[in-house]
Each structure stands twice: as structure tokens, then as C-alpha cells.
Amino acid sequence: MQRKRFLKDIIAGRLMLVLTVFSGLIVFLMALGLYFRSQPILAVKPLSDLLFSSGWHPLRGEFGFLPFITGTLWVTGVAVAIAIPFSLLTAIYLSEYAPRGLREWLKPLIDLLAGIPSVVYGVWGVLVIVPLIKDYIAPFYGTFSTGYSVLAGGIVLAIMVFPIIIHVSLEIFNAVPYEMREASWALGATQWQTIKHVVLRKALPGVIAASVLGLSRAFGETMAVLMVAGNVAKNPTSVLDPAYPLPALIANNYGEMLSIPLYDSALLLAALILLLVVLFFNIISRIILVRIEGSV
């Protein structure tokens, strides 16, 4: 009886260990798997050619990622430029000014924003943002746009990124000791001076980490961008031009590519690039966040 219990314990422990190690290794398995699958194209073409040429003609064997990379950078850039100021201001307000009751009310609402599926964001973008750009914003600047543009993608992505930056920033501000604020007030500083010189200064690394997390989410987001960014494989030159970001490229073409040589390899290389960039951003921001957690 006793022995059976201990045996069970040991067997279960081993099984759990296997599952744990497996889960910890998934990231590496994904990177390795995608790397091997993108080998065929890397063997034929140098990486620099693929990354810095613009010709995308799979039937002729030309795979230039440049327009997709610039498309991703434009859309992500616009999204981050909108998202960071708004979410930081909101996070500061919720953490430093808002009464406790209000904060407890608003937090779930902002988390709700994170729960809305990206396809619903896409539908909303098509219904609201695209016409807004086509009928008001583009004519205002005296140009024409179909509305399906970098700006539309950027706005939709910014809203999707808000809850991530706000959520992480709130935790960071929370970790700044209350005594530090009291010390600053005691010296006669106003609330805003305290925030500017004490809270923000102390929280800066964490705020950067939060923004980078948001950025990497925007970088890899697929469905919503696919629906509103226009998908024209050209380098955008203004925010009103259409763009064709990398994730949209993969989503639009995967499945059709099995009959064209090297096509699937090229798309999996695109997925690998996406994964590596996102991993890079995530690892940096997680290291910063773990440090903060450890120091408080």
C-alpha cells in the first residue's frame, strides 16, 4: 500500500517532468522546425538577396521579401506611434490619479479589449476606419486613397495593442514603492512632478519593456491587418498607401503554394523571420521585466 503510493508519486513526477521539459522546449522546436523547412530556399539563394530585393514572382522563382518587410515596418511603426502615448497616459491616469473604485471598474473593460478576436477588429476596421480614411482623411490631405492603407492597419493594431501596454505598465507603476511618492510630495512636489521625476524615472525600463511587448504583438498580428491594410506588394511611401505585411503574406498564400517549387520554403522562411524578430523583442522585454520583479 505504502509502496504503491510512493511509486505513483514517482511515476507521476517523471511524467510531469517530461511534459514540463516539452513545454519549455516548444519555442526551440518551432524555430528549429521552421529553420529546417526554410533550408531549401536558403540553399539556393543568399539571405541578403531574399531580404533586400523587391521582386515577388513565385512562378519565376523570384522571392524578394523587401516590400513585405517595409510593409510590416510601416504598419507596426504607425501602430506603436499611436499606441504608446495613449496607453501610457491612460496607465498613468489609472495608476496615479483615478480613484480606486474607478480603476477597479475600468481594468476589466480594458482587458475586454484584449479579448476581442482579431477578425472582429478586422470587420470593425473595414466598417469604420477604412471609410473614414477614404472619405475624410485622404481628401483632407488632397490625395486619393481606397482607405485600405498603412494608416488603417496602424489604427486597428494600435487599439489591439492598448490593453497589453496598459496592463504591463500598470503592474510596473504598482511596483514603484509608495514611499518614494510620499518622499517627493513631502519635498513639495506636485502630483505631476512626482510622476515625471520619480515614478516615470523609476519605471522607465519597465515602460520600455511594456512598449516592446506591444510592438511585437503588432508585428505579428495577422488577421486584422490582412483585412484592412490593402495587400499590395509595393514599398509604401506614405501612410495612405496600401501595405502588404509579412503575416498577411503567409496567411494569403499558404495552402496554394504546394505546387510551386520553393514557394512553401519561402513562406516558412517568412514565418521564421517573424518568429525570430518577435522572440528577440520578447526575450529583451521579459529579461527587463524579470529583473524588475526580482528587484522589488
Binding site: 510512493f6 508519486d9 507521476a12 513526477g13 510531469m16 511534459l19 514540463t20 521539459v21 513545454s23 519549455g24 516548444i26 519555442v27 518551432m30 521552421l34 523547412r37 502615448p85 495613449f86 496607453s87 497616459l89 491612460t90 491616469y93 490619479y97 475600468l106 473593460l109 480594458i110 479579448g115 476581442i116 478576436p117 482579431s118 477578425v119 472582429v120 478586422g122 470587420v123 470593425w124 473595414v126 466598417l127 487599439i159 492598448f162 496598459i166 502630483q191 505631476w192 512632478q193 511587448l213 511585437s216 504583438r217 508585428f219 505579428g220 495577422t222 488577421m223 483585412m227 503575416p247 496567411a251 499558404y254 495552402g255 514565418a271 518568429l275 518577435v278 520578447n282 521579459r286 524579470v290
Partner: protein, 283 residues
């Protein structure tokens, strides 16, 4: 008024403005989905599968996608739970917080959390090609379970790490093994929190499109086995919106409403569970 007061007021104004703006974007999104979706809703949308010519504006509904989504997200949640729960218990009961394995696994899961869903889709699809599987319910379940794994396990981890050390000590003092402590004490103590984590992951999975686009495929029929392709709601929305016919686009709005209602229901349910959980916890 002195200069610092003016600066303070300007920034406070900006903060309130951006808070209001973010909240109104939430209201605007949900409002738009309801306003556009409700007029297009009908009983046949949720009780029928697409009939011939559905995508040209003829009769039918999206029952195939609703059922398909529930199958794939449900299966994915179950598979993910089977991996997450033992793993989280292991991390909290069997190893020390500061051990290399625990630190590494938690870090790795955090990083995994940020991987875009399209990458899960592409990776899942290459696994399926390797195994010789075609787009199917099973493929979608595999891709979604990977996508949900970091979400579910991190949420569970947050709950289980709040369990006070005394509870472990009490259980060990009674002679329980680690397994018995984990299953009979910790799981029971944190059950509402575990359910919340499961619901959060389910909500994330049912709304995700990019990971199921190649792995699950699309069909007008309700799948009857794991190896058949299935329709999913996000993709049904995407395809219907992509047709040039206004009647079909209207149905995309109705489908978006259905999906949003499911997500909101799951979210409310998990919030209620969280409230319960914090009430019952032993401190």
C-alpha cells in the same frame, strides 16, 4: 496660478482624454458589431448549415462554423489542459521556484506567449505535412493547443503560486506524497482559478483565425470525425466579408456578432469565477 499647476492640469487633461478615447474605442467596436450584426441576425443563421449558393446570397446559416469552432477550440482547450495542469503542478509542487528548470520553463512560456498565431499556424501545418495529415479538426486542435498552452499555464501558475506554503506543509505533515498534495489539496483549493484559466484560453482560441486557416481548412459540412476539415467562425466571417455580395457581407456582421457574444459570455463567466475564487482562498 503657477506654472507647475498649469502643466499638471494640461497633462491630467491629456490623460483623461486618452482614457476616454480608449474606452470609447471599445464601445465603438462592440457598438458597431451589434448595430451591424443584429439586423442581419436570424434563426437560420444559427440553426442551418450553408445551402447551395449560400455565398451568392442564398439560404443557409453558419451552424457549420459555430460547431466547427466549438469542436476545435474545445479539443484544443482539453489537450492544452492535459499538458498545462501537470506542468504547472510540477513547477509549483515538485521543484523550487528558483530552480533552473522552473525559471527556464516560466521564461520560455512567457516568450511563447508573444509568438504570433500565424507562426503557430505555419508550424502546425508543417507538422501535419510531416505526419501526412490533411487540414482537419485534429490539425486545428494541435495548433490551437500550442497557442493556448502559454496562456493557460501562465494563468494557472499565477493562481497556484498564491497558495500559502502552510497548506503544503499541512498536507506533508499528514504524510501525503507530493502527488497527493498536488491533486487532492492544491487542485481542489485552486479549482475556480484553474477553470478561469481554461476559460481564458478557450476564449482566446475560439477567436483565433490565423492559426486555424491552414490547419483546419474550411467546409460547409459539420465534421463527423477528427480527420475531416471543419469551418471555424473567424474564417467564416473573413470569407463572407470577402465576397462582393452585400447580403453575404451582412451575414459576416451577424457571424461577428455571434463570435463576440460567445467571447463576452466566456469573459463574464471567467470574471465571476475569479470573484468566487478570491472569496474562498485560504489566506
Amino acid at each position: 496660478m503657477d506654472k507647475r499647476k498649469i502643466e499638471e492640469n494640461i497633462f491630467k487633461g491629456l490623460m483623461i482624454a486618452s482614457t476616454v478615447m480608449i474606452l470609447s474605442s471599445l464601445a465603438l467596436i462592440i457598438g458597431t458589431v451589434i448595430m451591424k450584426g443584429l439586423p442581419a441576425m436570424s434563426m437560420s443563421m444559427i440553426t442551418q448549415t450553408p445551402k447551395g449558393g449560400y455565398y451568392l446570397g442564398k439560404e443557409g446559416g453558419v451552424l457549420n462554423a459555430i460547431v466547427g469552432s466549438l469542436y476545435v477550440a474545445g479539443g484544443g482547450t482539453l489537450l492544452s489542459l492535459l499538458i498545462s495542469l501537470p506542468m504547472v503542478l510540477f513547477l509549483n509542487v515538485y521543484v523550487k521556484r528558483t530552480s533552473l528548470l522552473a525559471v527556464f520553463t516560466r521564461f520560455s512560456l512567457d516568450v511563447l506567449w508573444g509568438v504570433p498565431s500565424i507562426v503557430y499556424g505555419a508550424f502546425g501545418f508543417s507538422i501535419m505535412l510531416y505526419l501526412g495529415l490533411r487540414a482537419s479538426v485534429l490539425g486545428g486542435i494541435i495548433a490551437l493547443s500550442l497557442l493556448m498552452l502559454p496562456i493557460m499555464s501562465r494563468a494557472m501558475d499565477e493562481v497556484i503560486r498564491m497558495v500559502p506554503q502552510e497548506l503544503f506543509d499541512a498536507s506533508y505533515a499528514l504524510g501525503a506524497t507530493k502527488l497527493e498534495t498536488a491533486v487532492k489539496v492544491i487542485v481542489r483549493q485552486t479549482l475556480p482559478g484553474i477553470l478561469t484559466a481554461v476559460l481564458i484560453a478557450f476564449g482566446r482560441g475560439i477567436g483565433d483565425a490565423a492559426s486555424v486557416i491552414f490547419t483546419t481548412g474550411f467546409t460547409d459540412h459539420i465534421p463527423t470525425s477528427l480527420f475531416q476539415p471543419a469551418a471555424t467562425l473567424p474564417l467564416a466571417i473573413f470569407f463572407q466579408l470577402g465576397t462582393p455580395f452585400p447580403e453575404v457581407q451582412e451575414r459576416a456582421y451577424a457571424s461577428a456578432l455571434i463570435l463576440t457574444v460567445i467571447i463576452l459570455a466566456v469573459s463574464v463567466a471567467s470574471r465571476i469565477l475569479t470573484k468566487r475564487f478570491t472569496r474562498n482562498i485560504v489566506k
